[in-house]
Every structure is written in structure tokens, then in C-alpha cells.
């Protein structure tokens, strides 16, 4: 096939015959093939040559396949490359480990040439489809020009999400934004963002972000995948130097799990029903500025009555001290502790007032979003 000519596959196996067999099989179909005989070499090549797909052996001396994929998925330059495991083991455990670490598929050795080609083709197609989806979403968004305020959800709109919100926009085109989505019967998404700047382009951005959330916060995507997809589109449509910080929380009521992601945003506050207030500090890149991004994900096992607060930096910043959150965060923790018995719907506004007492000046937009499990 002609379209294969630019597609590059990285083969990693310590067994030379296996590499040669696969290399020939793949080259015959027109793929460009690069080979590596050990993990560290494979990672260097992956990051430098950016292959479209990696076929990775699990059992190798030194760094094994599990360690290689773990490191590939932690590296922003290689996280997006689909990895198929080559495994001699037929144990279910090793397959599950592979999938957990982010492999898209596995091929059991000894392999059959046609099977390898079929799986390679399938995953390359999926990966290309994802990329096409990103550019087509970006195209569509370029044409959206909706009003901003009408886009904000109120708690009555999604009663199952059980949240309270306090939104205050300083200027006409506010840079703060929040959204709450029902992803499935038991899964809800909560999103708070601060878009750099306060101009018309910013207000247009909020509608774009809203649409992006709807398109990408869906059951088939893990939270980090949703954020990565959104980042890719934003990167295409945002002007140079523009970006947004955000906090995304996904609550699965069935599995009683809250997954949190932080994209360069102040830490979310977690108040377990029977425990002390905790700030969830997570690493994560801002959205829309870089092509390759990394997001740390924290899964918290939650119980009924546990609370979370997501907010924008306006809540904790104080005049003349914009870049230091330490004191603000301490005040916020204390305030959340004091308000723990107040219904979450009322607590959000109270939280803003308490914090305002400390700062005296509203310098920025403020969003406070409270969630009760």
C-alpha cells in the first residue's frame, strides 16, 4: 500500500531472528522499520525518530518490556505512540499488566505474519483516525462564535452531579470558566479553567473549550486522554502565547473513584467525610501551549459525603503577591475545614466571602466549584 511508505515501525526484541522475521514481513508491506535490541536503545530511538507504532518484546535482559513502556508513557515525546506487546507468555496477568501500562494490544509468540500485519494495520488506523479527529474538531471550532454566559451550567441542570458553584466575572469577557458534564449514568466530569487574557478571543475560547469537553470527556477516554485530546486541538487554535490552566475531576459513582488531573492549576481541595482537609498537588502541563504534554493522574477512593473544591487562582491570590499561593492555600484549607458542615451549594459562596475577607480586593475573576460525592 502506498500510504504505508511514510509509516515507521520500531521493533524491539533481544532475539535477532525474531527481529529479522518481523522486519522483513513489515518491510514487504511498505513500512519503514527501525530495530532495537534492548530497552534503553529503543527509548532513545522512539523519542528521536518518533515512530508511528512500536512492537515491543516483554522478556529482555536488563530493562524488560514493562519497564520500557512505563518509561515511554512517562515521556511526553513518546506517550502518544501506540505500543503492541510481543509476548511469549500466555498468562492473563502479563497481558493485564501490559494493558494497564498503556499497551494497545499484544501479539502472542510464535506469531503468524498475517496476524502481525492485521494488528499493526488496525492500530495504525486507529491512531491516524485519532489525529484526523483532532484536526477536524479544530476546524469545526474555528467557526464557533457563541455567547459565553449562556454556556455555564447550573446545579439544577445536572442534579446527579451534586455540585455548587460560585462564578464571578470581573470584566465582560471573563477568563475563568467551569463546566460540569454527565459522561454516563454514573460518571460525571467537573472542569475549572483559567484562560490567559481578558479579551474577546478569550470569551470565544470558553465556547470552544465547552465544545471540546463535550466531544472528549466521554466514557472511552481515560481522563488524561481527554485532556491530551483537548490540548492537541487547543494547540492548533490558540494564538501564540495563549494557554489555559485547568483542573479536571472525573467522578465514577459506581467504582467510587474520583480521578483528578491538574493542568498547571492551583491544587484541588479534598475533604474526606471523616478526615482532614488535603490539597491534591499534581504535576501537569498547561493546555494549548505545548504539543507534548504530561499529566499526573490521582485516583482517590471516595465515600459518600466526601467533598472536593475546584477553583480558579483568583480565590487564593492576594494583591501584590500574585505568584505566591502558599499563604492563600493555607487560608483556603482552614476555610474549607470550617465550612465542612455547610451544604456544598452554600459553601461555595461562603468560601469566596471568607477568602475575600483576607484579600479585601477582587483582582481577578473567581470560580469556586464544590462537589459532594
Amino acid at each position: 500500500m502506498n500510504e504505508n511508505k511514510n509509516l515507521t515501525i520500531l521493533l524491539v526484541d533481544d532475539e535477532p531472528i525474531g527481529i529479522k522475521v518481523l522486519e522483513r514481513t513489515l518491510k514487504k508491506e511498505g513500512y519503514h522499520v527501525i530495530t532495537a535490541y534492548d530497552g534503553p536503545t529503543a527509548r532513545t530511538i522512539a523519542s528521536k525518530n518518533q515512530p508511528d507504532l512500536i512492537l515491543l518484546d516483554i522478556i529482555m535482559p536488563g530493562e524488560d518490556g514493562f519497564e520500557v513502556i512505563r518509561q515511554l508513557k512517562e515521556d511526553p515525546r513518546t506517550v502518544h505512540i501506540p505500543v503492541i506487546f510481543l509476548t511469549g507468555k500466555d498468562g492473563v496477568d502479563s497481558k493485564i499488566t501490559g494493558f494497564d501500562l498503556g499497551a494497545v494490544d499484544y501479539i502472542t509468540k510464535p506469531f503468524h505474519g498475517q496476524e502481525v500485519l492485521a494488528r499493526v494495520r488496525l492500530h495504525l488506523q486507529l491512531s491516524l483516525a485519532t489525529n484526523t479527529l483532532i484536526s477536524s474538531q479544530a476546524d469545526r471550532l474555528r467557526q464557533i462564535k457563541d455567547a459565553q454566559e449562556s454556556m455555564l451550567v447550573s446545579p439544577e441542570d445536572i442534579p446527579g452531579a451534586n455540585f455548587g458553584v460560585c462564578y464571578q466575572s470581573l470584566l465582560e469577557a471573563g477568563g475563568d470558566f467551569y463546566d460540569v458534564l454527565q459522561i454516563s449514568d454514573d460518571i460525571y466530569g467537573y472542569f475549572v479553567a483559567d484562560i490567559s487574557g481578558h479579551d474577546i478571543a478569550t470569551s470565544y475560547m470558553t465556547s470552544a473549550v465547552k465544545a471540546l469537553l463535550k466531544q472528549n470527556c466521554i466514557p472511552i477516554y481515560q481522563p488524561a486522554e481527554s485532556m491530551r485530546m483537548i490540548n492537541h486541538v487547543l494547540e492548533e487554535i490558540l494564538q501564540e502565547g495563549k494557554y489555559l490552566t485547568a483542573c479536571y475531576a472525573r467522578l465514577n459513582r459506581k467504582s467510587e473513584t474520583m480521578s483528578l488531573i491538574n493542568c498547571g492549576h492551583p491544587p484541588a481541595v479534598y475533604i474526606p467525610k471523616n478526615g482532614d482537609v488535603e490539597l491534591i498537588k499534581l504535576m501537569g502541563d498547561v493546555l494549548g501551549a505545548f504539543h507534548d504534554v504530561f499529566f499526573e493522574v490521582k485516583d482517590i477512593h471516595v465515600r459518600r459525603g466526601d467533598r472536593f473544591f475546584l477553583y480558579s487562582d483568583g480565590l487564593i491570590e492576594r494583591p501584590g503577591d500574585k505568584n505566591v499561593w502558599t499563604k492563600g492555600l493555607e487560608d483556603l484549607s482552614n476555610a474549607c475545614r470550617d465550612l465542612r458542615d455547610m451544604p456544598v451549594v452554600d459553601a461555595v459562596a461562603c468560601l469566596r466571602d471568607v477568602m475575600h475577607q483576607k484579600t479585601k480586593v477582587f483582582e481577578d475573576d473567581i470560580v469556586v466549584l464544590g462537589i459532594e460525592v
Partner: protein
């Protein structure tokens, strides 16, 4: 040995396949030599290593008889057992010789 079937299974031309088989015979012979010594000296770690490598290479080319024998040796050795290992060395040797003869026939 059905060269045509084995090559087709891998999606290779016959001559490509035969080239790889020759490579396999070379590496297989050296791996088998190591395996033999390791079994005699009861060097478990080396037995695992060389049988794993024979298993992988033979499996990749579709020589399933060798693959199965090498797999048993590797599995046993991983549980600290070497029973049947020296018979296995002989069996693998026989298969390798057989393949070598057939290859010569094919390439001639």
C-alpha cells in the same frame, strides 16, 4: 519440513525464509553448545538463558518441535529442575541437523 508453508505463514518469500533459517542454524548451534555445557555444569541461569534464546528463535521461524522442547527445558530450569535437559539437548541437535540437511536440499 514444508518450506513453502513455513515461509507463507510468516509472509516471506522462500529464499528470504531460507536465509533466516541459515542464520538460525548458526545461532542455534552456538546456543545449543552453551546449553549443553550449562546442563553438564548445572548452571541453571545459563540453562534458562540459552534455552530461552533457542525457544524464541525456533518459535519465530515456526520450528515448533524445537520450540516445545526448548520451552520445557526453560520452564523446568526456572523451577530449578534439569530433568530431561540432556535428552532435550540431543533432541534439539537432531532437529537442527535434520533442518540443515533439508535446507541444503532446498538451496541446491
Amino acid at each position: 519440513m514444508n518450506v513453502t508453508a513455513l515461509s507463507e505463514r510468516l509472509g516471506l518469500e522462500k529464499d528470504e525464509f531460507l536465509e533466516l533459517v541459515e542464520l538460525f542454524l548458526e545461532t542455534g548451534k552456538s546456543d545449543l553448545g552453551q546449553l549443553k555445557v550449562a546442563v553438564q555444569t548445572e548452571d541453571i541461569e545459563e540453562v534458562v538463558k540459552s534455552s530461552h534464546s533457542i525457544k524464541g528463535a525456533s518459535g519465530n521461524l515456526g520450528f515448533m518441535e524445537i520450540f516445545e522442547v526448548a520451552k520445557d527445558v526453560e520452564l523446568n530450569a526456572r523451577q530449578d529442575r534439569l530433568d530431561g535437559a540432556s535428552e532435550a539437548v540431543d533432541t534439539i541437535k537432531k532437529h537442527l541437523d535434520q533442518i540443515a540437511i533439508e535446507i541444503t536440499g532446498e538451496t541446491a
